[in-house]
């Protein structure tokens, strides 16, 4: 099945809503994290697809991010639309911070992980963090915050 860039874009916004629903209403934190990551991947594929319809990055977040061209914005075009240099820099910085956060907490094989398995994995890889209460829930909250920020910035950039 082939998907045009616009389809990936629509799916990205749909998946992030579904991820938030899974977190809020379903208490399905492992699945919420996985779906949130898929939302980000959909958005990257949308941008990449507008530049080049071939995909050889698979699920590799950093390669997809580079190939998406999201950081290669046309600064003059944004300035002409009323953005300031500070706003453009803040936009790019937010994208990078979100990608760093998503990169450290997400992997494509999380789709196979149960709640218990992902809770244990995240405790292991983020043992330096002090978290009280439900460890997986808090990690999911932080992850979805980053994914949502990335999608929000991407939606703005898509329509520029």
């Amino acid at each position: 099945m082939e998907f045009p860039p616009e389809h990936y874009f629509q799916t990205a916004t749909q998946r992030i809503r579904q991820a938030q629903y899974l977190y809020r209403e379903g208490s399905s934190y492992a699945l919420a994290i996985y779906v949130g990551g898929v939302a980000v991947e959909c958005l990257l594929r949308a941008f990449k697809g507008r530049r080049d319809p071939t995909f050889d990055e698979k699920h590799h977040l950093l390669r997809l991010f580079a190939a998406s061209g999201m950081l290669r914005i046309d600064r003059d075009k944004l300035l002409a639309k009323g953005w300031t240099d500070a706003q453009i820099d803040e936009h790019l910085h937010t994208l990078k911070v979100a990608v760093n956060e998503i990169f450290r907490l997400w992997a494509n094989n999380y789709r196979f992980a149960s709640e218990e398995r992902l809770r244990s994995h995240l405790k292991q890889i983020t043992s330096h963090q002090r978290i009280q209460g439900d460890y997986l829930k808090e990690q999911a909250r932080q992850f979805l915050n980053s994914a949502q920020k990335f999608i929000d910035k991407g939606v703005v950039q898509w329509h520029v």
Partner: protein
């Protein structure tokens, strides 16, 4: 990751290795611009925004503007977090 080939990749690796000496590791590649991962215990004490600020300052300080334009993103992770990297390649 692919072996380092171009001078900018080597220069950037030197800059990062100076700030993050072993046992930290640095993986860089050119994929539609330079991307990479710095893996260091030091990041355990830092929020993600501080990790990006630190890496961004190094790039800003040591690379010329035309070199900086070729750098897409370099992320900072702890050794434990770094295990997710290869998992994302399937």
């Amino acid at each position: 990751m692919a072996r380092l080939k171009n001078p900018l990749l080597r220069k950037l690796e030197r800059v990062l290795a100076q700030r993050f000496p072993e046992p930290a590791t640095i993986q860089l590649e050119d994929h539609d611009g330079i991307i990479g991962v710095v893996t260091s215990d030091e990041f355990a004490r830092m929020d993600t925004i501080d990790r990006q600020n630190l890496i961004g300052e190094l790039v800003e300080t040591h690379l010329k503007p035309e070199e900086r334009r070729q750098v897409q993103i370099i992320v900072g992770v702890t050794p434990e977090e770094g295990t997710g990297y290869l998992a994302g390649e399937d």
